[in-house]
Amino acid sequence: MSYTTRRNNSGFSSRRERSWQRNQNTVAFAPRAAMGPITHTVLVALMIAVLGLIYLTQVTKTSFYGYTLNTQSEQMASLKAEQQDLQVENARLQALQRVKDSNVAKAMTEPKSVDYVN
């Protein structure tokens, strides 16, 4: 039966190994590729651009509501004007002079006598 310790007895030992204690992992995995300052700058710029795009989308969307509202207001005004025209036409058709000049009115006669029923 062989028994080996984790202690390394070679000449060189890292700071982590030097400060080794029981139940502590001595292996650290560092990424091989590190981001340089240019990458950082590009990423930040991209993030700002995305945020800007989101902002612009929202603003445009809100502005678009303004146009929708305006279109609907114009539609309302147009319908109101149409309603006014119809009211005027209706009133003209029912005007007293027109009624008097109608064939029905011309055919009417004055009653000879009027009696009241109580």
Binding site: N70, A95, Q97
Partner: protein, 587 residues
């Protein structure tokens, strides 16, 4: 200094560039700080001024309705119209503009405007006015460069000239002129709303401003008049025919409800079409003579003098006076009846009204002074005319240009005995028809003076009418008992008189004629060539349901204009009203 230059010359170029760049950034930063922080308020204002627009939301002018029996019908409505304008600098094809406008809105083109389309120095030309919505849509479809449409509104009168003077008109600035339109401008015009918002280049409001504000416009009141369209139309027709019969040039008719002071009709001739007010040459036709043309109403006022005599206790229905001479002397003046009048030793208040005796009302005045025309008599008559009947004061009817008329107080030099003797039979004082008819209504309705009014109420959005209560200005114009006595006297006087025998059975129709001489402006004296005929009376069964006053100027019929010109108009209208109002006869 040379050391510093040496240091710079020894400095690496990259370092020098860094310093320069940093320096420039520093300057930019400082400048931006100045603009964005220190000058923030100023630029913020500038930005708002160019981006934020304050738009006015125009209210709709109130419409005007009249009664039509139980329902209501419109007399004045609004219609959307457009003004077509051009910017010649933007017009690319002037011939096409001309062609489109001539085809679509030929009758609305402003004269000579099309010829100016090629004048590039002008930026705004009105090409056509009062273009209808349909025409505007056709113009818009043509999509002609340089042409614009400006929206507006105009009044429309479906009944054309009906009640023209009562209504008035609205000018191009949107201001009411004459009649109701002017008198009730504040109620009709409404309150404009505002919209404060960020707008785009076309001034379309966007919803991105945090300070956007919208205050809705409040439309004007939709008024319902007490005027009945059918009565108004009949009054106008009867007046027109009546004036033609006596070849008179001018006249007016007023129909009132004595139980509320509501005006049922107010007609004038000559008249005009309010939608074509610009074509009117004689501006006097705009005036509503019923409220703005005071005159010496003449003998119709005898009814009110007798009423004052009864109420003051100076005379009663049994009072008898000697009229065998047919004349009465006041100071140095002799006042006589007309020659045809009977001379009786035992004349009464009834015969005074029956035969229109000047001597009868002078006697009444004399009795007010204890047997002579004196200050006491003048004070009493003035008190009734001014305080009870409210002559010399505006009635407050909803009409522009109402005039108070003239009544001379007894303490004035001109308010002497002779004047007051004349005033007793309606000369020497000016009243308007609305004053005379309102006072007459109060004198025969039991003594309650209602403020004459044209407004019944307002029309709600659900089509219901919110009526306003008639306003009582005074009780006891005459006591109820004396009012009843006067009403009976006036009825009996007509019944026994010229018109009464032709009145329909079962109704109480009362009234009094008046023929007043007119002062010739050239001589300053009463002229025998011209007179104004009046008739003031009531009709109904047990109680009066309408009061009619007729005025006819310049009748050529001969005789007394009150009898020959005004009386027939009253009779025709009164007989028609009995049927129209379904007044049941007494059994």
């Amino acid at each position: 200094m040379p050391q510093l230059t040496q240091q710079f010359s020894r400095m690496p170029r990259s370092r020098l560039l860094r310093i320069v760049v940093l320096g420039l950034f520093g300057i930019f930063t400082l400048r931006l700080f100045y603009i964005q922080v220190i000058q923030h308020g100023y630029y913020d204002e500038q930005a708002k001024a160019s981006q934020v627009s304050k738009l006015t939301i125009a209210p709709e002018r109130g419409k005007i309705y009249a009664h039509d029996g139980a329902g209501v019908v419109p007399l004045v409505l609004n219609e959307t119209v457009y003004t077509v304008f051009a910017d010649p600098s933007e017009v690319t094809d002037a011939s096409k503009v001309t062609q489109v406008l001539k085809n679509v809105a030929g009758g609305n083109i402003v004269s000579d405007s099309l010829a100016r389309l090629t004048d590039k120095s002008v930026r705004y030309i009105v090409l056509a006015r009062q273009v209808s919505r349909t025409q505007a849509e056709l113009i818009q479809k043509e999509n002609v460069a340089g042409i614009g449409l400006q929206k507006g509104s105009r009044r429309v009168y479906p009944e054309q000239a009906l009640a023209a003077q009562t209504l008035g008109y609205v000018n191009t600035e949107g201001t009411g002129q004459y009649g109701l339109e002017e008198a009730l401008q504040a109620r009709l015009v409404g309150t404009p709303g505002t919209l404060e918002a960020v707008t785009d280049v076309r001034r379309i409001p966007l919803t991105i401003g945090k300070d956007d504000a919208r205050v809705e416009a409040k439309n004007g009141d939709n008024l319902v008049l007490s005027v009945d369209r059918n009565i108004q139309s009949k009054a106008e027709q009867v007046l027109r025919d009546g004036l033609a019969n006596v070849r008179a040039t001018k006249g007016s008719v007023l129909v009132m409800d004595p139980r509320s002071g509501h005006v049922l009709a107010m007609a004038n001739f000559p008249t005009y079409d309010p939608s074509k007010y610009g074509d009117v040459q004689d501006y006097s036709v705009f005036q509503n003579a019923v409220v703005s043309a005071p005159y010496e109403a003449g003998s119709v006022m005898k009814t009110l003098t007798v009423g004052a005599g009864l109420d003051s206790g100076a005379v009663n229905t049994n009072t008898v006076f000697n009229d065998s001479s047919g004349c009465a002397t006041v100071d140095d003046r002799k006042i006589c009846n007309v020659e045809e009048d009977p001379r009786q030793a035992n004349a009464t208040m009834l015969t005074t009204l029956r035969y229109s005796l000047n001597t009868g009302v002078v006697f009444t005045l004399r009795q007010m002074g204890g047997g002579e025309v004196n200050r006491q008599a003048r004070d009493t008559l003035y008190s009734y005319f001014h305080s009870h009947y409210r002559f010399g004061q505006l009635t407050g009817i909803e009409q522009a240009g109402e005039t108070p008329g003239t009544i001379i107080a007894p303490d004035q030099q001109e308010g002497n005995n002779v004047r007051y003797a004349n005033m007793a039979f309606g000369q020497g004082m000016d009243v308007t028809m609305i004053q005379a008819a309102s006072a007459f209504s109060a004198a025969i309705n039991g003594g309650r003076y209602y403020q004459p009014s044209l407004i019944d109420g307002t029309l709600g959005s659900d089509g219901s009418v919110s009526s306003v209560q008639p306003k009582v200005l005074a009780e006891n114009t005459l006591s109820p008992a004396h009012s009843a006595e006067l009403r009976d006297l006036i009825w009996q006087a007509r019944k026994q008189g010229f018109f009464g025998p032709n009145d329909p059975e079962g109704y109480k129709i009362g009234g009094k004629t008046g023929t007043s001489q007119v002062i010739d402006p050239k001589t300053g004296k009463y002229s025998n060539d011209n007179s104004i005929g009046s008739y003031l009376g009531f009709g109904g069964a047990e109680t009066p349901e309408y009061v009619i006053m007729v005025r006819v100027d310049d009748s050529k019929a001969g005789g007394y204009a009150g009898t020959t010109a005004a009386g027939p108009i009253f009779n025709t209208l009164s007989n028609w009203l009995l049927k129209y109002l379904n007044i049941e006869p007494m059994r």
